[in-house]
Structures are given as C-alpha cells and as structure tokens.
Amino acid sequence: MKYYLKLGFVLLIITVIASGILAYINTITQPIIERNQQIAQENARKEVLPAAISFEEVTGDPTYFIGIDSDDNIVGYTFVASLYGYSSNVETMVGINPEMVIEKIKIISQSETPGLGANCEKPEFQAQFSGKQKSDMKVNKDGGAIVSLTGATITTRTITNSIKTALNKLDIPIENTAEEVE
C-alpha cells in the first residue's frame, strides 16, 4: 500500500508542477489570444464596413453589429453568415449598408478543398458581392448574378445562400431603417 501511495504521490507532484507551469503560461497567453481574436473580428468588421469606426453588438439570430461612424450615425450592419458547404462550414462576414445593399464580404472561416472551394478566399471572388442585394443572391448557374468559382459551384452556392438566409432573418431594425428610407 505504501508503495502505491508513493506512486500516486510522485504522479501527483508531477501533475501539480505541470499544471502550475501551464497555468502560469496561460495567464500570459490567454489575454493575448483573446485580444488577437477581438482584433481579428474587429478588423474583419471594419473591413466589410469601412465607414464605421465603432460597433455595437445586438444579440439575436443572427447576432449582428451596428456600425457607427464618428458622427454617431448608423452606417450599416455586419453579421456572420454560415452554412455547410462542400466539406466544411463556411463562415462569411458580411457588411451591409442601411439600404441592405452589401458593402463587402469576407470569408472568415472555411476548409473547403484547397484549389477549388478554398478559392473563395480570393479577393476577386469576394469583390463581386459588393453592391449586390438580397435578390441578387443567386449563382449564375441558377440564373443569378453571382459568378461561381470554377469547379466549386457548391461552395459558391453555399456562400450565396447563407447570405441570403441571413438577410432574410435579419429583421426588425433593418426593416425599420428601410422604411425610414422609404
């Protein structure tokens, strides 16, 4: 029994030391990681809605951010659209102006086939979404305005549909603004 206690004790010591060190390192890295992530998100939001300088989070389905410029005007909204594509979940950060016209999009996470679906990260591809509306969200093969990636219609369709669905779901305040505009 003593022997086993000794074994347990040695193991205990090792784990204690290990976890101590890890906890210490964690306290250093964790804030950096979180900051990195925040910055990345913030940057992404700014990228798709360049006019905004600060954002206000509104939780819901989907959670969206209201973009506000230096004059406290609402310059638009950003949200993340996501759907399962060819072989992964494709997440797209979308920025729209108050008229619900897409400012810009940015693919923030995907692991589609490299060289095919993964080409959706190319700027040329993402650029075509700028200035499009909900009704344009259709791939050219299905008669829409979005030119699909070569050999990756599925991915293209996924992105397009995800944005469309998200736009459909994003309701109250945007409708309000739209009405105001009208």
């Binding site: 074994l7 040695v10 193991l11 890295t29 990681i33 060289g115």
Partner: protein, 195 residues
C-alpha cells in the same frame, strides 16, 4: 564524436518518418504546404527537445511502474505550452495546424524517444537526440510538403514556382496525394538504402 552521431542519425539513417514510419498522422495531415510543415516540424522539435531534456533529468526519480503516465504528463505539458504560445503569437499557423498540435502528445516519435533514448542517456545526449530527431521529422515534413505544394498548387512557400500554364494537380494536396507521395518516398528510401 558520439554526440555528432546522436545528432545526425535522425536525419536519414533513423529518420523517424521515412525509416521508422512513426508519427504518420501529423506528417500527412500538415504537409499540404511547406509553411505548415515547417510550423509543425518546429513545434514537434520543441516538444521533443524539452521533453527529452526533462525526462532525462528526472529519469532516476520516477518509479518504473508509472514512468509512462509520468512521461505523458511531461510531454503533454510541453505540447500545451507550444499550443498556447503558437495560439498567442502565430495565430495563422496555429489555425491551419489545428487539431494536430494537441495531437503531438500521442505522436509516437516523442514518447518513443523519451522511452528509448532519454530515459537511458544523459541530458546533453538526450537534447541532441531530440533535436536531431525533431529536425529529421521537420526535414521529412518539408520534403513531403514541398512535393505536395509544388505539384498541387504550383507554389513553394506560397510563391508561384511553376509556369502559369501549369494546371496544378489538386490531388497532391488532398488526402490521396499525401498517402501516395509518402508511399513513393518511402520506396525511394528503400531503393537508396539497398545500394
């Protein structure tokens, strides 16, 4: 020059990937591009060196009955350190290596070296062994990664190296390509060994 031998044996003669066929999962999973290969290789090298060092330091303190769990804890700690540090300072590579960083824990090379070498040799040799093996691992990853990236994307380290008319052979960076390139390289190794 025994130490030199301990250092260099991992490059070719006892290359952990080609000769011993250990740690296949990360080798194949992350070698779709050279940059990933380097990242993974260095991460593993770090873990190898430090866990080898550490284990050879404490080897006499650990009763043999629990040496495996103890080693695992040591290794896992270093892996976690690498994981956190990379996450904090190299977020891009961390993201593309993904799952395979924590999986360094179960990479047979690491535990294997701890058992077979570090637990029996002094600190200096153990570090050299870890470094050599780690670099051997990195070397193998880079070789595979280069082939796959050049064939599969026409690029090397993200730069275009083949004429624009080259239509990249996608499979090379997909799963089947990984296996086939690996198989061919191992066979090449066998061929050269025989001569």
């Amino acid at each position: 020059m025994a130490w030199l031998k301990e250092f260099t044996k991992g490059f070719i003669k006892e290359n952990p990937v080609f000769v011993m066929a250990l740690g296949l999962c990360p080798t194949l999973a992350v070698s779709s591009s050279v940059i990933n290969a380097i990242g993974m290789g260095l991460a593993a090298t770090f873990v190898l060196v430090f866990s080898n060092m550490f284990i050879s330091l404490i080897k006499n303190l650990i009763p043999s009955k629990i040496r495996i769990p103890a080693y695992i804890v040591v290794i896992a700690s270093f892996v976690t350190i690498v994981d956190m540090v990379m996450h904090a300072y190299l977020p891009a590579i961390h993201k593309s290596l993904g799952l395979f960083i924590p999986l360094i824990v179960v990479n047979c090379i690491i535990l294997g070296r701890a058992e077979a070498f570090a637990s029996k040799n002094n600190v200096f040799l153990s570090i050299l062994d870890g470094l050599g093996m780690g670099l051997g691992f990195t070397l193998a990853l880079v070789v595979i990664g280069s082939i796959r990236e050049i064939l599969g994307a026409g690029q090397f380290l993200g730069m275009n190296v083949l004429p624009a008319t080259y239509k990249p052979m996608l499979v090379a960076i997909l799963a089947p390509g990984a296996f086939i390139v690996m198989g061919l390289l191992m066979s090449l190794m066998n061929l050269t060994k025989k001569k």
